[in-house]
């Protein structure tokens, strides 16, 4: 059996299992709307579904539970952990702050005092070490399993694109629930997120390959989620007018920082691959 055939079957089982969880979520939307407890239980199961799917696939295909990239690999890789912490923060700072500054509204950033910024930065640093464990439910599946099975089939570029689309699509049931069943709104929200996740997925894939551990990706993913909230919170503390509209510049910066990150890490992923094949 070739490597491609070896990977195709587990990948198929994995994706089917993940989509079965998505279907479960969609089917349960009505009872979830009626009961907080049902919502909580289904939401928790769904949040961990990529990891559960990877465990189920490993059991079904009898490939075992070795090499799940669960070692921290801290020694020698601490700088990459710091990068996983800092890069999403820099990206979202550029996304939120640069349009405001470039359009001449720096006075809106009154909430960004040294004290507030440092306080948020330290809190995020502490929380990312202790609270990011929930993200393992996703990263164990996406980076720890799916990407590795996809790579021999689709190559690195294909894995980043298709993996990002799958990752983005997985959030669709939550968007449908969040939009109260307004499907067009849910698809619009899911589409925007899919682009962001596909671009950010390149960085997470590079990070996982570099450190041979899913934990830097866990930190990066946690910071992707939390830094947006922290920055938005600081923005709201400023004096932004209610009808504020930055126009095209805000739309440009919506994806530009993440696009730059994706381009840089895609080049690094491909150059790492070339270096490895030359060595072999």
């Amino acid at each position: 059996m070739t490597t491609k055939n070896k990977c195709a079957k587990p990948l198929g089982i994995y994706l089917l299992t993940v989509f079965a969880f998505m279907l479960l979520f969609v089917l349960c939307i009505k009872p979830m709307n009626a009961s907080n407890t049902v919502f909580y239980i289904i939401y928790m199961i769904f949040s961990f579904s990529p990891a559960i799917a990877s465990l189920i696939t490993r059991a079904v295909t009898k490939e075992g539970f070795r090499d799940m990239k669960l070692h921290l690999k801290l020694s020698g890789n601490f700088k990459w952990y710091l990068l996983a912490f800092g890069l999403p923060l820099i990206c979202f700072s550029a996304k939120f702050l640069l349009p405001v500054i470039l359009s001449g509204h720096a006075d809106w950033l009154g909430g960004f005092t040294a004290q507030n910024v440092l306080s948020n930065l330290f809190t995020l640093a502490a929380m990312s070490a202790v609270m990011s464990i929930g993200i393992l439910g996703e990263e164990l599946g996406w980076r720890g399993y799916m990407n590795r099975k996809m790579e021999p089939l689709l190559g690195r570029v294909g894995t980043c694109i298709v993996g990002g689309i799958v990752w983005g699509l997985w959030h669709l049931p939550m968007d449908i629930f969040g939009c109260d069943g307004a499907i067009s709104d849910a698809f619009a929200m899911c589409g925007g997120r899919m682009i962001q996740l596909t671009l950010f997925g390149v960085f997470l894939m590079w990070m996982t390959k570099k450190t041979d551990s899913v934990f830097p990706a866990v930190i990066g993913h946690y910071m992707f989620n939390e830094s947006q909230g922290a920055l938005a919170n600081l923005l709201y503390q400023g004096n932004i007018p209610e009808n504020a509209d930055l126009g095209v510049i805000a739309d440009v910066f919506e994806f530009l920082p993440m696009f730059v990150v994706a381009a840089v890490f895609m080049v690094m992923l491909l150059s790492d691959k070339n270096r490895t094949s030359k060595t072999v």
Partner: protein, 235 residues
């Protein structure tokens, strides 16, 4: 390294997994003292349960250090490719992982409780995870203090030496306070100046990061002291 992780898992898996039931302590406190429940919030009872859970978890975390204070083990692990530093790193990572697991369990139970309470029409049930977070960092700090003592003096003698050190520290602080009793107002005023509403969040966040830094520092100190400790173990 995988071998060391495997050894720790085989030896301590029940202690590691016991962090999950420790997170259920607030719920257990509500069940045991259900006659005293006055409102669905029961915040005092839940916080009491939470603290009890953290104390129990702390005791269980210390139990994973038992059995390693043996000369033969110390010499053997030093001779392996990972060395005693690898062994200590896995220990520190495991205890940190136990604290993270406890925190996850506490949050899981807390959010579940609030969801059930909301279904019962009691939307005013508040989450206590906000209190769990500082407790979690206090636990990290306490382990950062405990572990070097255990490896330097052995588990029994280590707790005794730690107790003596703490008593000495308290005596020094009390002496300092008594000697400066006439300046106590100034000390209180300067403390109030440092800790005020404006910079309390900054101080708290710095404190959290300092706890993490001290945990790492504790690992480095233990690495320095370990071989001296091995020489003095009883058997």
């Amino acid at each position: 390294m995988t071998g060391l992780v495997y050894k720790e898992w085989k030896q301590n898996r029940w202690f590691i997994l016991s962090m999950i039931p420790c997170g259920f302590a607030p719920l257990l406190a509500l069940l045991l003292l259900r006659e005293q429940i006055t409102s669905v919030n029961n915040i005092a009872l839940r916080i009491g349960g939470l603290i009890a859970g953290f104390l129990a978890a702390g005791a269980l975390q210390m139990l994973v250090l038992r059995g390693d204070d043996r000369k033969l083990w110390g010499y053997w692990i030093t001779a392996t490719p990972d060395g005693y530093k690898g062994f200590l790193r896995v220990k520190y990572e495991m205890i940190f992982g136990m604290i993270v697991l406890l925190m996850f369990s506490v949050q899981f139970v807390d959010m579940g409780y609030c969801a059930v309470a909301a279904d019962m029409g009691k939307a005013d049930a508040v989450q206590i995870s906000g209190i769990a977070l500082p407790l979690c960092f206090v636990q990290i700090l306490l382990r950062a203090i405990d572990i070097p003592f255990v490896y330097r003096f052995g588990s029994k003698k280590g707790s005794f030496v730690k107790l003596i050190c703490l008593i000495v520290l308290v005596i020094i602080m009390l002496t300092f306070l008594i000697l400066n009793i006439e300046h106590s107002d100034n000390i209180i005023e300067s403390c109030k100046k440092v800790i005020n509403v404006q910079n309390s969040s900054l101080l708290l966040s710095v404190g959290l990061v300092v706890c993490l830094a001290l945990y790492y520092l504790s690992y480095r100190i233990t690495c320095r002291l370990y071989l001296k400790g091995v020489e003095q173990y009883d058997h």
